[in-house]
């Protein structure tokens, strides 16, 4: 994991990343964490501290709900499920991202032609 993504950049997208995983099935804290590593082809790890804060926020805002799973060897897992509101939020965030990435690409790499 040589390259990093700045905290500011990732913070704006944490919610969308979590919603993307949950819209493909219910999952629990550590499961979502592993899924994120896998999705990045083992190139990026989102700290669990960030994730737990995000779960709490997403639940308060009604985008996800939580429920306790059955007892395993280690204890009960707390699972998360996306709500209808969460799905709508995800679709909107995806659109926003599609727009943002095009613009940012232009702004960061674009050359200025002064008509010379």
């Amino acid at each position: 994991m040589g390259n990093t993504i700045s905290t500011d950049l990732i913070r704006g997208n944490t919610d969308t990343i979590i919603l993307n995983i949950l819209r493909q099935g219910d999952n629990y804290g550590y499961g979502i964490y592993k899924e994120i590593i896998k999705l990045s082809d083992n190139q990026y790890e989102l700290k669990e501290a960030t994730l737990y804060t995000a779960y709490r926020r997403l639940e308060q805002e009604g985008y996800i709900i939580s429920y306790w799973g059955d007892e395993t060897q280690g204890g009960r897992r707390k699972y998360y499920r996306i709500t209808e509101l969460g799905n709508e939020r995800f679709e909107q965030n995806k659109k926003d991202w599609d727009f943002a990435k095009v613009i940012l690409e232009k702004l960061i790499k674009g050359g200025i032609n002064n008509g010379k």
Partner: protein, 220 residues
């Protein structure tokens, strides 16, 4: 193997307990601790299955959690809110207990004074005058009992409790003024008239309150 499993469990639980050691209790804290503990244990097991030693696995798992201070602060705020609520409840509790005691003492004081003055050789109207303490004491007890939260009922809201106290006070005051004015004038019809005004107002208010009351029973 079972033994080693236990030491991992204990160490992870100790780490989580220490992390939230100075945080006030709440349902959210209880849930978050269980969630974190389960997930860290699973992570430790994953690290161990990749050949990491137990000590190392626990250390790595904890480090990879990242900075949990934000979560701890979150939980501390929630814990403080519940602590505040507990303080608030015990304050109103104390106030209403003080009210009940003061009310009982007022009534007793009124009864004793009236009895004492009756036995002294003075006009009866002066003796009955001390009955006002009984009126005040009854109103105070009414208010205090209604604002006290019990295991089965929530406390009544203060304005409503004060209105109940007023209703009871009016009825008692009606009886009181009937007795005093009766003694003062020696005419029974004046006594009835004086009683009527206050008792009617008091009963009217009391009925209104009874008929508009909401259910204060706790659903347990």
């Amino acid at each position: 193997m079972a033994n080693r499993k236990n030491t991992v469990d204990e160490k992870v639980e100790k780490y989580i307990n220490d992390l939230f050691a100075d945080v006030g209790p709440s349902q959210q804290l209880f849930d978050l601790k269980e969630e974190l503990t389960t997930n860290i244990k699973e992570k430790v097991a994953d690290y161990q299955s990749r050949g990491m030693e137990e000590e190392q696995a626990i250390k790595e798992a904890v480090i990879s959690m990242g900075d949990l201070r934000g979560l701890v602060d979150d939980m501390r705020n929630i814990g403080q809110d519940t602590a505040k609520q507990a303080v608030y409840t015990s304050m109103t509790e104390r106030v209403s207990i003080a009210g009940i005691i003061a009310g009982v003492l007022l009534i007793l004081f009124g009864i004793f004074t009236v009895a004492m003055l009756f036995l002294m050789d003075i006009p009866r109207v002066s003796a009955a005058g001390s009955g006002i303490f009984i009126v005040a004491g009854t109103a105070l007890i009414t208010y205090s009992l209604l604002t006290k939260e019990t295991s089965k009922k929530y406390a009544m809201n203060k304005i409503r409790a004060a209105l109940y106290a007023l209703a009871i006070g009016l009825i008692m005051f009606g009886i009181f003024s009937g007795i005093t004015s009766g003694y003062a004038t020696g005419e029974a019809y004046i006594a009835v008239a004086a009683t009527m005004v206050f008792v009617l107002a008091g009963v009217g208010l009391f009925l209104f309150l009874i008929l508009t009351g909401s259910n204060r029973y706790k659903n347990i």
